[in-house]
């Protein structure tokens, strides 16, 4: 074909049959297909979407697969790390915790039970433990780091690394399973994201829509209210509302606090969109045909304003999650025994030196959630409104 083309006179009119002509046309895409095309051709957006799906699966399906409950405390196994080294003592494995307890570990990594302490000689800094079969072993904490010895003061030196089979991600300082708490914490983040988005969508669209559509004095008054609300530092007000409602309200009060304060941007965006849309011809056409106001709003105005609205929502979700984590962190969020990623970070600070994994895990979880939502949000923004691309 291409050789034929080269032989031909380049300036002769191209002869193409009907079928070939068709090929010049690209496939026509509907709006949804177009958005999906742009979204799926952005690697970070796809990555975010996959991450989001995985995280949702993790926190929705995950808890069914974990045998522990998020609130059960097991004070025998406090601050157990996800992986550790245990001494080999006569064919059995003993883990020495940083708080000077001895815990027997099965060869596959399952935690069995703490050894009974027979006596604690504070003067010599030695503790004696019973192996359960009459033999005694001695924990010498005069040395740094502390070490295990047998009755003849010979230290045990053989170690074996284990992955914690009972608690794959370890336990916190009250002996609660980190894995299930992470799942529950992430659930709260997702729930907050969902509800905050929904509440803001409803209030924002109603408020902005009414303001724009009514126009005149109503519009002026409504927008002045928005102006005043938007000069208020929102974080402060979420905190104040939370103090007022009392922290025992838990998630509900956070959602109310976020919902009452964070709709302002949405209202502005909706109003701006509808103001520009309502002067367009298709709206006049609809009005001439006798459509009701409600119908014009719901079938013509709001669907056409959906792009910027969704963009605003996706921007709002990470900030809602952040506010929840932030408030839980300063002690205003969900209350124990419920777990939130923010409270978990806060709890971990006191044991940061000995059990850093208690901070790392929830931190990582927060970062993953934030990354997922940010990437998806950025992708949606570019896909829905290519003009906004940065």
């Amino acid at each position: 074909m291409s050789e034929d083309m080269e032989k031909m006179d380049k300036w002769a009119p191209l002869k193409a049959d009907a079928e070939e002509r068709e090929k010049l046309w690209s496939k026509s895409l509907s709006f949804g297909q177009d958005v999906w095309y742009r979204f799926s051709h952005k690697p970070t957006a796809l990555l975010g979407l996959i991450l989001l799906v995985l995280l949702v699966l993790f926190c929705v399906v995950g808890p069914q697969m974990v045998s522990h409950s998020y609130e059960t405390q097991n004070l025998d196994f406090v601050n157990m790390p996800p992986s550790f080294k245990a001494y080999e003592v006569d064919g059995r494995y003993i883990y020495l915790t940083p708080s000077l307890k001895l815990i027997e570990v099965a060869p596959d990594g399952t935690l069995m039970k703490p050894l009974a302490r027979l006596e604690d000689d504070g003067m010599k800094k030695r503790m004696t433990f019973d192996m359960g079969d009459g033999t005694e072993i001695i924990l010498n904490y005069k040395t740094k780091p502390p070490r295990l010895e047998n009755a003849q003061k010979e230290p045990y030196t053989v170690f074996k690394s284990f992955r914690n089979k009972t608690y794959p991600l370890g336990t916190d300082n009250l002996g609660r399973d980190m894995l299930i708490r992470l799942m529950m914490g992430m659930r709260i983040s997702m729930l907050i994201a969902l509800i905050a988005a929904f509440v803001n969508l409803v209030i924002g669209i109603l408020y902005g829509g009414i303001s724009a559509y009514a126009g005149g004095m109503t519009d002026t008054i409504m927008m002045r209210i928005v102006d005043v609300v938007s000069t208020i530092p929102l974080t402060l007000y979420v905190i104040l509302l939370q103090v007022m409602m009392g922290s025992n309200g838990g998630i509900l009060s956070i959602v109310i606090a976020l919902g009452t304060v964070y709709w302002v941007n949405m209202a502005r965006v909706v109003r701006g969109e509808i103001l520009s849309l309502k002067e367009q011809e298709f709206v006049y056409a609809a009005r001439t045909l006798g459509s009701s106001t409600w119908r014009i709003l719901t079938t013509h105005l709001i669907p056409n304003a959906m792009g910027p609205i969704i963009v605003t929502v996706t921007m709002l979700i990470p900030s809602a999650i952040f506010i929840e984590a932030f408030m839980s962190f300063i002690g205003l969020g969900v209350m124990a025994p419920m777990a939130s990623l923010g409270t978990m970070c806060n709890d971990a600070l006191s044991t940061l030196r000995s059990s850093p994994y208690q901070l790392f895990l929830p931190s990582l979880a927060i970062c993953l959630v934030m990354f997922a939502f940010n990437f998806v949000g950025d992708g949606l923004r570019d896909a829905l409104d290519p003009k906004l691309r940065k």
Partner: protein
């Protein structure tokens, strides 16, 4: 211009009034007085305390009293700390917070501007990717997470920097970096996109056509105009810095205003919560106002209405 400024000032006052009113009634909507919360006091003591702080008056009278106090810039006494006024709290804590905030802004600008400029000039190359990668991380990771991780690595593991306090210059490093992470990333992103936009303008082509060196084109013509959007966001940025510092001050035990605020929340020290909220709000509103005025002075194309 004068008309605009007057209008804005009036609006600021209105906003402050709404904020003060809202804060007052929110705080008083909490069931139980500030003294009924933890230990049960003898009724006589409670009555005396209520009388001392005027809590036995009708709410409206208390409100009028509080507003009168506000006019004289008096935020009232602290409920939990005997003999301390909220004003004293603010006078003690705010300079520390302001110093921390100021240093953070300085640090963020010093890092963000070159990063953003390099990213824009090397658009699409690895320097750009790298900068944007750092910036994305900075925007997504909450400051308290950055702060705790920094503290773990540099204070606990390496022992280079103190875990708390601002006694020496070393104490400032971690709080400033943790607090500046978000601001820095945000400013760098903004700098990049704004410079990219300016570089595509006609006057840049003109400058190049005149035979100016690339350095001169960037510094004289592009940067000046690209900085304008940065000035606009500086107001809200300072706002987010101040509110963000609650957590940073708590983690690093910095005795600033944010620390007081968080403590007064857990102590349910209502007057202090109210006072600090109003004070912060006033500062933030004033900041946005100043930035807006400044913005118009810098760019004569912007007309105020």
């Amino acid at each position: 211009m004068t008309r605009y400024i007057l209008k804005r000032l009036l609006f600021m006052l209105l906003a402050l009034f709404v904020i003060a009113t809202l804060t007052f009634f929110l705080m008083h909507a909490i069931p139980g007085g500030p003294f009924t919360s933890d230990r049960a006091l003898p009724p006589a003591v409670e009555a005396a305390l209520n009388k001392k702080y005027n809590l036995d008056q009708p709410l409206l009278l208390q409100y009028l009293d509080y507003m009168k106090g506000l006019l004289r810039l008096d935020l009232g006494p602290s409920f939990k700390y005997e003999g301390m006024t909220v004003n004293e709290f603010i006078a003690g804590g705010f300079p520390i917070s302001a110093r921390l905030g100021g240093l953070t802004i300085l640090f963020s600008l010093i890092v963000a501007l070159p990063l953003g400029i390099i990213a824009a000039l090397k658009n699409g190359k690895w320097q750009d990717m790298f900068t944007m990668f750092i910036a994305t991380i900075g925007v997504t990771i909450p400051s308290f997470v950055i702060a705790s991780l920094l503290m773990y690595v540099f204070s606990l593991k390496l022992g280079w920097l103190p875990t708390f306090g601002l006694d020496s210059w070393k104490g400032y490093i971690l709080p400033v970096v943790a607090l500046g992470g978000y601001t820095l990333s945000y400013l760098a992103r903004l700098m990049r996109s704004s410079l990219l936009e300016v570089m595509g303008q006609d006057y840049i082509r003109t400058a190049r056509a005149k035979g100016l060196s690339e350095l001169k084109v960037v510094v004289r013509h592009a940067l000046r105009n690209a900085l304008i959007p940065l000035i606009t966001v500086l107001g809200p940025t300072i706002a987010s810095l101040l509110t963000g510092s609650f957590v940073i001050e708590k983690i690093f035990a910095v005795p600033g205003l944010g620390q007081h605020f968080v403590n007064s929340i857990s102590n349910r020290d209502y007057t202090t919560i109210m006072g600090v909220t109003i004070f912060y709000a006033a500062i933030l509103i004033a900041m946005t106002f100043i930035v807006d005025i400044f913005y118009c002075l810098v760019d004569p194309r912007i007309k105020l209405d």
